[in-house]
């Protein structure tokens, strides 16, 4: 049997990503959200899985991306695509700067304290946005209308988010193969040891968060335009939904593995869509139940569970 390599899987996903919206135009929005979830899981895993810093505040960078795009598109008066491009650029700059500032302040905190601190960050950001008139305060912001024909918008954002997820995956895959990837793992396994071995842990940690922020900000700008409206607490800084899902998807697939976050995002998103379709009214309950199942039965995620099974089979044979 030929070995299935990363490249085979990537090829298959690329084909599905390119053909999907054309074959199933009715599902374009759902597929676009799937790629958004992949970006969420991948960027969360950079810190949570690879570096051992469980952030519940990554949603902040997504929200910054949403608002930066909306403000630029509203205030510059540029045509749609120019405005969108400039908005995405502004979003990445703001989010990366925020990651550097928050990182310098918070990445010195370890373990649960970091998790709780970032949770506060996410909640605070939502409250600030909800009280700030310049960004529409509690009533949120409407994004400009997509100029193309009906149905084109979904296709456009489906491809944009697919491209973003693909680039994010390839960049992270390359990074995890470098000394930087090893340094992240070293910080996760024993931070004090990494310091004692002379690693420059502070810039490494900040860079990792800033890179996650970069991709999250772009995803925020694109998602805001796709949805057409941003609410401070339910869309941009949606800590209780997007913010928690990021963590769940990475854990479900397998923290700190290459394919874990991607697989987790697929399984989670499909399951969620099925809940909405078949268990309407109970979908939140079903989701809560799914979370319990993930934590109890797949503490190492699907990839970890598979690796364990393989090890057991090999030991048994």
């Amino acid at each position: 049997m030929n070995r299935v390599t990363d490249w085979h899987i990537m090829g298959a996903i690329a084909l599905a990503g390119l053909a999907g919206p054309l074959l199933l135009p009715g599902l374009a929005t759902q597929i676009a959200f799937l790629w958004l979830m992949v970006v969420f899981a991948l960027t969360w895993d950079m810190l949570g899985g690879r570096m051992g810093y469980n952030s519940f505040g990554n949603i902040v960078f997504f929200g910054i991306g949403c608002y930066a795009a909306a403000v630029v598109q509203r205030d510059t008066g540029l045509p749609y695509f120019e405005g969108l491009a400039l908005g995405l650029l502004a979003g990445t700059v703001c989010a990366v700067l925020a990651a550097i500032v928050f990182g310098a302040a918070m990445l010195g905190i370890r373990g649960h304290y970091f998790a709780i601190g970032t949770l506060g960050l996410g909640i605070a950001a939502g409250e600030v946005a909800a009280g700030w008139d310049y960004v529409g305060a509690g009533s949120g912001m409407a994004l400009p209308l997509y100029p193309g024909e009906l149905g084109q918008r979904e296709i456009f954002f489906c491809y944009s988010l697919f491209a973003l997820a693909a680039v994010c995956f390839l960049v992270f895959r390359w990074l995890y193969g470098t000394r930087f990837g090893l340094a992240l793992n070293a910080i996760r396994d024993d931070h004090d040891k990494a310091d004692a071995m002379g690693l420059r842990t502070t810039p490494i940690k900040i860079f990792a968060w800033a890179l996650s922020a970069f991709f999250l900000a772009i995803s925020g700008g694109l998602a805001a335009n796709m949805i057409g409206f941003i609410d401070p607490r339910d869309v941009a800084f949606a800590g209780a939904t997007f913010g928690v899902w990021m963590v769940l998807m990475a854990i479900l697939g397998g923290k700190g593995t290459l394919w874990g976050p991607v697989l987790g995002a697929f399984v989670f998103h499909v399951t969620q869509e099925l809940f909405w379709t078949y268990l309407l009214g109970w979908q939140r309950v079903a989701l809560g139940f799914l979370i319990v199942v993930i934590v109890v039965f797949f503490p190492q995620g699907i990839m970890g569970w598979l690796a364990e099974r393989r090890a057991r089979t090999e030991a048994g044979s």
């Binding site: 990074l175 193969g177 470098t178 000394r179 930087f180 090893l182 340094a183 793992n185 070293a186 996760r188 396994d189 024993d190 004090d192 040891k193 990494a194 310091d195 004692a196 071995m197 002379g198 690693l199 420059r200 842990t201 810039p203 490494i204 860079f207 700190g256």
Partner: protein
């Protein structure tokens, strides 16, 4: 021989407990120095003070003639002064080879220099050093799956990978199978002579330290009790009393 490490009157307190009181010792370039003393005499605390794990309350620490008293552990490590831990510290979820690769000197470089794969030469060198401590067959295994003794050897190999000028070893033979101890002593000596690493070794096993060290310092109750050649320290009545508990 020039002085590589010069600890001058270092005092370290934890609350009301004085762990080290005006401790002075020197380590000369190229030697193997020993540090002994009963449990709780302040040996590991002194290692922590030297390696920048905590701030000291008094005195000064010179490495290659420059004060490192106010530096933290990472910049001290980058100057070429490393320590190992009594309770071994390795990267559990990484393979032995990865543990070695991230311990290489080049991994201490700038963020930008980290953004490239581990060069084949580094992995080859890692393999050589793993062979040196007898862990070559385990190179692809997760470090956390090794036995305590093997982890101790891995930690030693990781330190060598960094090519330090001075290596502080905290009980390198603790937990090592007694039949392997002679082999380990031989490796410590070879690291010293062949790789040119100066060693300062904390050791409880008297047979080991008397064999290994050129000079020995004995601590008791946080103070230097005696120092000198192994045979002098071994015969020193105060040292015997400290170990046997005679007041």
């Amino acid at each position: 021989m020039s002085v590589l490490l010069d600890v001058q009157n270092v005092t370290k307190r934890f609350g009301g407990v004085v762990a080290n009181e005006r401790v002075s010792l020197t380590v000369r370039q190229g030697e193997i120095a020993g540090l002994i003393g009963p449990n709780g005499s302040g040996k590991t605390t002194l290692f922590g003070s030297i390696a920048g794990a905590h701030a000291v309350d008094g005195g000064d620490i010179l490495f290659e003639g420059r004060s490192i008293r106010h530096l933290r552990s990472a910049p001290i490590a980058r100057r070429g002064l490393l320590r190992t831990y009594q309770q071994t510290r390795i990267y559990d979820d990484m393979t032995c080879t990865e543990n070695m690769a991230i311990s290489a000197r080049e991994a201490q470089g700038s963020l930008l220099s980290l953004l490239r794969p581990v060069p084949p030469a580094t992995n080859a060198h890692a393999g050589d050093l793993l062979g040196f401590v007898g862990l070559y067959e385990k190179r692809g295994d997760k470090a956390g799956s090794l036995s305590f003794g093997q982890q101790k050897l891995l930690e030693f190999a990781m330190a060598l990978m960094n090519e330090p000028k001075l290596l502080l070893l905290d009980e390198p033979t603790a937990g090592i199978n007694p039949t392997l101890i002679n082999g380990l002593i031989d490796r410590l000596r070879r690291a010293n002579t062949e790789l040119g690493v100066t060693l300062l070794v904390i050791e409880h096993n008297m047979r080991v330290i008397m064999n290994l060290a050129h000079r020995i310092t004995c601590l008791a109750h946080g103070r230097v009790l005696a120092e000198g050649a192994p045979e002098e320290v071994r015969e020193d009545k105060r040292v015997l009393d400290a170990y046997l508990g005679v007041a």
